[in-house]
Amino acid sequence: MNDVVLSLSAVVKRFGDNEVLRGVSLDLHRHEVVCLIGSSGSGKSTLLRCANLLESVDAGSVTLFGQSLMDDRVDPDLVRRHIGMVFQSFNLFPHLSVLDNILIGPVYALKRKRSDVRSEALELLARIGLADRADEYPDRLSGGQQQRVAIVRSLAMQPALLLLDEVTSALDPTLVGEVLDLLADLARQGTTMLIATHEMNFARDVAHRVAYLDSGVLVEQGTPEEIFTKPQHASTRAFLERVR
């Protein structure tokens, strides 16, 4: 297939003696939603961070649009402008208004004119029903609202793909729905996403492909149907047993 956006091949990551990723290979195609599942500490977050070079890779390679990111001449800042990332703890900038949180990337990383981006940002906020909160500070918003703003913040960069790191894990159960709905919305519009998640129902409904990670090894991947109804490996079965 030639529409591979992001490709990880045999990626190894160690923290000291601890091998967190042991040769993980995974392709992400355009318009595809891949859900990474696995227990805490299985390496999901590290995998996402290796994908946008927040963590260095010890062996193997990461490729974006067919270009190896392991090349010395690659500027990580330029790479990250094409890859949106959303975190478990939102990480909105508390000293900036909601609007400025969204503008900071396009204005200071892409050097676009503030007045041009402003209307786009307000449009994005309107899509998540928060246009009237543009001038408020993040701490005035609920967790669900903050996380939706964080998603919009990364969308404002018009990235080629989104990496989402357990984006509902820090939320009140009552607020999880609004965030997952937004993600499902984005999936319908063809946003390419790699999603680390504990929300199995969401993965089943929205993902095109599900990958199960266990202790840094990508045990198996397949359609939600394949993974959730007839998992091939014992460890996958055991994991799904436990989360059910």
């Binding site: 946008n52 927040l54 990580p76 800042d77 330029l78 790479v79 990250r80 402008r81 890859i83 949106g84 990332m85 975190f87 703890s89 990480n91 909105l92 900038f93 508390p94 000293h95 900071i104 990337g105 200071y108 990383a109 892409l110 701490d139 964080a150 913040r153 990364s154 960069m157």
Partner: protein, 297 residues
């Protein structure tokens, strides 16, 4: 071993009154207690001052109103410098130094935290710098700068007034402290902020300027003000280089008139400068604390 919470309910309502000997300290009665203790303490201090065997001498040599006034305004005829004018030197010194220190300290902190490969030698230098100048007493630096630079024969640089060498000394030493304060402040910003900014593709410099620094400034202001309070006092150290500031003027008065009331005048003038800043700093800290407590519930 009963786990019931109302085990005592059968004995009637519990006694909630403080025992008699503690009643003075409970609730609104506390005001009475605090007034009483203040009066007693004040009386004790005054009594020691008046009843001590050398009390009268101390009052004459340190708190003599006439000498206090003359030393405050000075007397050019007798060659007495005015302590009141001297303090102006202290004031312009610390005003100038504060600005220089804020800029220089931030520069050192940013170099020390930089990641650029090119800046490696400067990074090492800034680490050595903060280690050295936090470790040497200000007084020694004052001597080294104040007597050393003139000896170097560097033309313009070697022909400055003692007050200028004092400013150089204070800027150089306090910048080392302030750089560390900045650094602590920058590290106090949660790592997630850095990750979020970098994943938006912001450069390290942009991230520092737009995201980390604005958040660090808030936490850094109270400790910075604390350093500035000691800076205000340490301007007195230029007296050792012969600059006529408040303390030097007071010394001159004491050695000519054999009365130390001039020192008390200098002390009062320093207090007049530092107390507003101390009060202001305390208020900021209290406000910051209130904000944090409100945030974390």
């Amino acid at each position: 071993m009963s786990l019931e919470t109302d085990a005592s309910a059968s004995d009637g309502p519990p006694n909630l009154f403080a025992p008699r000997r503690r009643r003075l300290f409970v609730g609104r009665r506390g005001v009475v207690a605090s007034t009483l203790s203040s009066v007693v303490l004040l009386a004790a201090i005054v009594a020691v001052f008046y009843l001590a065997p050398g009390g009268a001498q101390v009052r004459y040599y340190f708190f003599n109103p006439h000498n206090m006034w003359v030393s405050f305004v000075g007397d050019p005829g007798k060659g007495l410098s005015s302590v009141g004018l001297g303090i102006l030197t202290n004031i312009w010194m610390f005003l100038l130094c504060e600005v220089l220190i804020l800029v220089f300290g931030l520069l050192i902190a940013s170099v020390r935290m930089s990641q650029s490969a090119v800046l490696f030698p400067l990074r090492v230098l800034s680490t050595v710098y903060t280690d050295v100048f936090r470790g040497i007493p200000v007084l020694l630096v004052m001597f080294i700068v104040g007597f050393g630079i003139p000896e170097l024969g560097l033309g313009f640089l070697s022909h400055q007034s003692p007050a200028v060498y004092g400013c150089i000394t204070l800027t150089v030493t306090y910048s080392a402290y302030v750089a560390e304060v900045y650094r602590a402040g920058l590290y106090s910003v949660p790592n997630g902020q850095l990750l979020a900014a970098r994943s938006l593709g912001l450069t390290h410099a942009s991230t520092m300027r737009r995201v980390i620094l604005p958040q660090a400034i808030r936490t850094v202001i109270p400790p910075l003000l604390n350093d500035f309070i000691s800076l205000q006092k340490d301007t007195a150290l230029v007296s050792t280089l012969g600059a006529i500031e408040a303390v030097r003027a007071a010394q001159i008065y004491d050695s000519t008139e054999f009365n130390s009331s001039s020192y008390v005048v200098a002390a009062l003038l320093f207090l007049a400068l530092t107390i507003p800043l101390t009060r202001f700093t305390d208020r900021l800290i209290a406000r910051d604390r209130a904000r944090r407590l409100a945030g974390s519930q």
